[in-house]
């Protein structure tokens, strides 16, 4: 839902600028910059979500160890992380590619030097070329061929990020980059996955997903990060359920101990719900990112033909930013719920890149 202020802004924008026949450079630069900062923020949140998943797994392991020791057991105390170093590196490279693309758009829109940031991008591009479909969690919903198709196409990003200066025009970059950006978004969307089958076909094969169709039409099978987090929460929940049953059956523990166990049991379930909401909202933000990119591209194309500028891009970017703000709040809520169970506190700003707050893409950015 748009806020009343956003509706007013949307209503006023066309009135104020309808006399323009070509796109306003300042507005374009701001929109591209807003979009790019949003992409970087989304990338940062996705990276954080993998850490949060590890934290949930660690919480379960800690509770398991404690219960085992209380029962007089001798448990293996080696914590097994959910993801390997290679798993995390593959996602970090993919997200760095996203950041690199966002930086390139901002640089081209603001006519910065094309060589800026190249040294940082160089390593990212090499790593993107080495990505393999096996680095991601896709087999729950995608065939080998489809998985491979998504990952292979991402290496084309280098053609956009290291263009010679004469070719560094925004529209061609957006047109070519749109396809690659969508593949990256699809890859992350499937990697985040689903907590339950979204198609009856999941029982025996893969759902038919058309990558060229709207992302909101995708149907996934149970799997991916959402399913992994759900399993971790279920594991921890059941430790506390068993602990309560044990206390009851053996008439052990004071009423305070039982009350604490009950509170813990409920808090962990609530954490699981918040975490799944965060992951599901992230998938929606990926869709909003693609919509915003397509809208900027359409606006620029229209401007090139000297037709009346469409303001669809502004609407889509507002929606993208709105999704991101919700996401930042949700990420902070999950982090705080986790901290109540084990540690420190976080605010939405802790997930933002420095530029995001400096450039005002936050809460009160003229909407």
């Amino acid at each position: 839902m748009l806020s009343p202020l956003q509706i007013v802004v949307l209503a006023l924008f066309p009135l104020g600028l309808s006399s323009c026949s070509v796109i306003d450079d300042t507005l374009l630069t701001e929109e591209v910059s807003d979009f790019s900062l949003g992409v970087v923020a989304l990338s940062s949140i996705i990276q954080t979500e993998f850490s949060l998943a590890e934290d949930v797994n660690t919480l379960g392991f800690t509770d398991y160890l404690q219960f085992q020791l209380e029962l007089g057991g001798n448990p293996n105390t080696n914590l097994k992380p959910l993801f390997s170093v290679a798993d995390i590196a593959a996602r970090r490279d993919l997200l760095a590619g996203l950041d690199g693309y966002a930086d390139t758009l901002t640089a081209v829109a603001s006519e910065k030097s094309p060589s800026e940031g190249y040294s940082v991008l160089d390593g990212t591009l090499k790593n993107l070329k080495l990505l393999d479909y096996g680095d991601f969690n896709l087999s729950h919903s995608l065939s080998f061929l489809n998985s491979n198709q998504l990952v292979n196409d991402i290496s084309f990003l280098d053609e956009l990020l290291i263009l010679p200066e004469r070719d560094r025009r925004l529209l061609p970059i957006l047109e070519k980059g749109g396809e690659t950006l969508k593949k990256m978004a699809l890859l992350l969307y499937f990697d985040i996955g689903a907590i339950a089958d979204q198609s009856s076909k999941c029982r025996y094969t893969y759902p038919e997903n058309d990558f060229s169709a709207k992302m909101s039409s995708l149907r996934l099978c149970k799997g991916g990060l959402r399913s992994i987090v759900s399993s971790a929460v279920k594991f921890d929940t059941n430790i506390w359920k068993d602990k309560l049953a044990y206390l009851k059956g053996h008439e052990a523990g004071s009423s305070k101990i039982r009350r604490d166990a009950i509170n813990r049991l409920v808090s962990i379930q609530k954490l699981g719900q918040s975490m799944d909401q965060l992951l599901s909202e992230t998938q929606l933000a990926l869709i909003a990112m693609i919509d915003a990119h397509e809208a900027i591209e359409a606006t620029l194309r229209a401007a090139q033909k000297s037709s009346i500028v469409s303001f669809t891009s502004t609407t889509k970017i507002i929606l993208f930013r709105k999704k991101l703000r919700e996401l930042l709040k949700a990420a902070a809520n999950v982090q705080n719920a986790l901290s109540e169970l084990s540690g420190t506190t976080m605010s939405p700003q802790d997930f933002l890149p420095t530029d995001f707050t400096q450039n005002g893409t936050g809460e009160n950015n003229g909407e």
Partner: protein
């Protein structure tokens, strides 16, 4: 016996569901230690299967984690313990029995 990684994941989730459904209020601490360790091993194997991409999910399954491979003796002990109980007690442990049997079946 699971034939593929996909089958194994389905079977492990069934085992986990049954084990989680067991009311353990009357299970002695010594057996509960084994039971919780088995549940942790099943959980670890499920997460390993979910977190790691299996290049051909129809390939023949072999347990991934050492914890799950090593929990066979605990599962067997639990199974033997249940069968040594009187019929009335065994009826209270049907979900434990079911979960343990499924987990054992894919380890064989």
């Amino acid at each position: 016996m699971a034939n593929s990684y996909k089958d194994a994941l389905t079977q492990l989730e069934k085992a986990q569901e049954a084990m989680n459904a067991q009311d353990i209020s009357h299970v002695p601490a010594a057996q509960l230690v084994n039971f919780e360790r088995s549940k942790a091993a099943v959980y670890g194997e499920i997460q390993a299967l979910q977190a790691r991409q299996i290049s051909a999910r129809d390939e023949d399954y072999a347990a991934i984690t050492t914890e799950f491979r090593d929990c066979k003796s605990e599962l067997t002990d639990l199974s033997n313990w249940v069968f040594a109980r009187e019929a009335r007690d065994r009826n209270l442990l049907t979900m434990l029995t079911k979960g343990v049997s499924i987990a054992l079946s894919i380890l064989i």
